[in-house]
Amino acid sequence: MTADATPRPGGDPPIPSGSIYDLGYRGYDGPRLGRRHAVGALFTHTLLSCYGIGRGGRAKIIPFVLAGIAVLPAVIAVGLVALARQAGQAGEFITDASPIRYETYFEIVGQIVALFCAAQAPELLGRDQRYSVLSLYFSRALERTDYAIAKLGGFVVALLALVLAPQIILVLGLTLSSPDLAEGLGENLPKVPPILAQAVTLSAVFGSLSLAIAAFTPRRAYATAGIIASFIIPPVVAEIAREVTSRDISRWFVLASPPDVIGATNAFFFDIRPDSSVIAAARHPGELYLVVAALAVAACTGILIRRYQRISA
């Protein structure tokens, strides 16, 4: 096929400019960066493909719509506060009355994160299983565990970006719109550590849980249904348990409900009263929810790795 155009030795007429000819196969003498590079590349690739970057236009619709919805309240809140502060005294009142605050934002964004997980996690793992691409991965410089870890890392960071983007807008917007910059910094900077802590907890719990579910089926619909169920059913069970059983028993059900655990760590980090009646009724110390969140992440990661150890490729 390509060989016909190969330059021949001797005094053949010169090849006309613009024609394509075969240079022959060339070897590769450059560096081979090995396993670590491969894992890093897979991590980046995963992170980008969560937002459809590097894939077709249609793959970008869902993640960017969800990200837009997540960011929109923050933009509106900052805009309103800025306008109100222009108006003078009334500004402070509106700032205080605004329902969109650092500590309430995770409640708002939590639903969107759940939807993002349900939409993107099955795509992230199911695609490679569905089309048997795994054998192409596992026959390369990375191990099965590396694949699982890189996918998990990329996905959790993608969720972090989704969760933190609106909070960054809030922090910057509220700080810069403050009449006095020093005062604005003093008010908003102390909120940054709890924001980061809660963002990491939320992303790690939701991310590892969704991937641990998605890893078990190449079928997208099943994985999506499984992830949604894991976010919806446990809180309902916890709520029912609170109604029908004694408090001594029902208070433990809360710990098995990912959204409630996340709600409780939010209250713990921001040092506020949880607005969920289930969490309030359970009366667990905030630290317990942190431990449960950490255990959940560890368990889900373990399940994910184990799954990829055994999956046939």
Binding site: G27, Y28, G30, R32, G34, G54, S132
Partner: protein
């Protein structure tokens, strides 16, 4: 015979030459890649910084299997005490479906673990050095393995990075290798719209993109039409003969594989049937089937009586033709017996025929 050590391969080969494809031969020893066995590469080819290159002591086979056994959980024995050495070259791994070819390739890649026995690739144990081996091995799986929504360029470049190539190098190599397997403008389109032949080319390209020292191809002509098969086989031949990459091609089609490889390793039921250079087989002129209207038994008996290796196969008598004189002999036998000849035709050799009388005590293919 299990446990007998076979050695095949010549190490260095003359490149295949034919007039139709005057493609420039690589610098250095033709056919054998410099750097193979710790060979110093010519100074003109050395990059300013030394690349990480895999070397292993000369005298060590490229692939060495010792009593390799694989039993699946269901009780199926895919490999049964396989012991063989494979040297660089184009090696055909032949066997019927279920003979254990795919299992062997997957064990060499570390995709699955052997139940017992040892396997080394480039003097590295597949159990403990899987990652290092895989950096220098390309694998083309038998099954469809391409996501339909990705373009060939994106997929191959991504997989090149998964082999440890830096991003820029991965892109350059991808363009080069896709052009080499014969994908041009199509490479920017989604793979879902490709023909089977194009998909097979993408699979070959992803196996070649990191310039491996060893290429493991599992049924590369699967699902291709005759012309697609010819093109794929030509690509495989060029890869082995001109690019200086060692190739192991697994196939159940002996007729195809013998066109490109210089060595054959035949396995059946997970055991080694025979491993030898192809020329030891091609000295034979092959099998001829003589079909007669009736009396095939008498013909076979007569031919055997006259010193010809013949056996009965249905209505035909299959003869192993060793010299031209046979045809006169057959004609005389037909005349003597007064039989009605239907046809004489060369028979596509089957594995069993190929290995039938070479190893007398050998397990016949059940």
């Amino acid at each position: 015979m299990v446990g007998t050590r076979f050695r095949c391969g010549l190490g260095r080969r003359e490149p295949h030459r034919d007039g139709r494809n005057p493609v420039p031969v690589r610098l250095g020893a033709p056919g054998a890649r410099p750097g193979w066995s710790g060979d110093p590469r010519g100074p003109d080819r050395s990059p300013p910084h030394a690349p990480r290159r895999i070397t292993y002591p000369s005298g060590v086979p490229l692939i060495a299997l010792r009593e390799l056994t694989k039993r699946y959980n269901g009780g199926v024995t895919a490999l049964d005490g396989l012991t063989v050495d494979i040297e660089p070259g184009i090696v055909g791994l032949v066997g019927s479906n279920g003979a254990g070819k795919s299992t062997l390739l997957k064990i060499l890649l570390g995709l699955i673990d052997a139940t017992s026995g040892e396997a080394t690739v480039m003097d590295l144990d597949v159990r403990t050095h899987g990652t290092e081996i895989r950096q220098f091995v390309g694998y083309m799986p038998e099954h469809d393995a391409l996501p339909p929504d990705a373009t060939a360029t994106d997929l191959v470049a991504h997989l090149a990075r998964m082999s440890g190539l830096p991003t820029t190098a991965a892109r350059e190599r991808t363009a080069e290798v896709l052009r080499h397997v014969g994908l041009y403008e199509e490479r920017y389109r989604a793979i879902g719209g490709y023909s089977t032949g194009m998909k097979q080319r993408v699979k070959l390209a992803q196996a070649l993109v990191h310039d491996p020292r060893l290429l493991l191809l599992d049924e590369p002509t699967n699902g291709l039409d005759p012309s697609g098969r010819d093109e794929m086989l030509e690509l495989v031949r060029r890869t082995g003969a001109e690019f200086g990459i060692a190739v192991v091609v697994a196939s159940h089609l002996l007729g195809e594989i013998e066109r490109v490889c210089d060595h054959l390793v035949a396995i059946e039921g997970g055991q080694l049937l025979r491993a030898a250079p192809l020329d030891t087989f091609t000295q034979r002129t092959g099998l001829v089937a003589i079909e007669v209207e009736e009396g095939a038994e008498r013909l076979a008996a007569t031919l055997v009586g006259r010193g010809v290796e013949a056996r009965l196969d249905g209505r035909a008598v299959v003869v192993d033709v060793r010299d031209e004189g046979f045809y006169d002999l057959a004609r005389d036998a037909l005349v003597d017996l007064d039989l009605a000849l239907v046809r004489i035709e060369p028979r596509r050799r089957h594995l069993e025929d190929l290995f039938r009388d070479e190893e007398p005590g050998e397990v016949p293919a059940a």
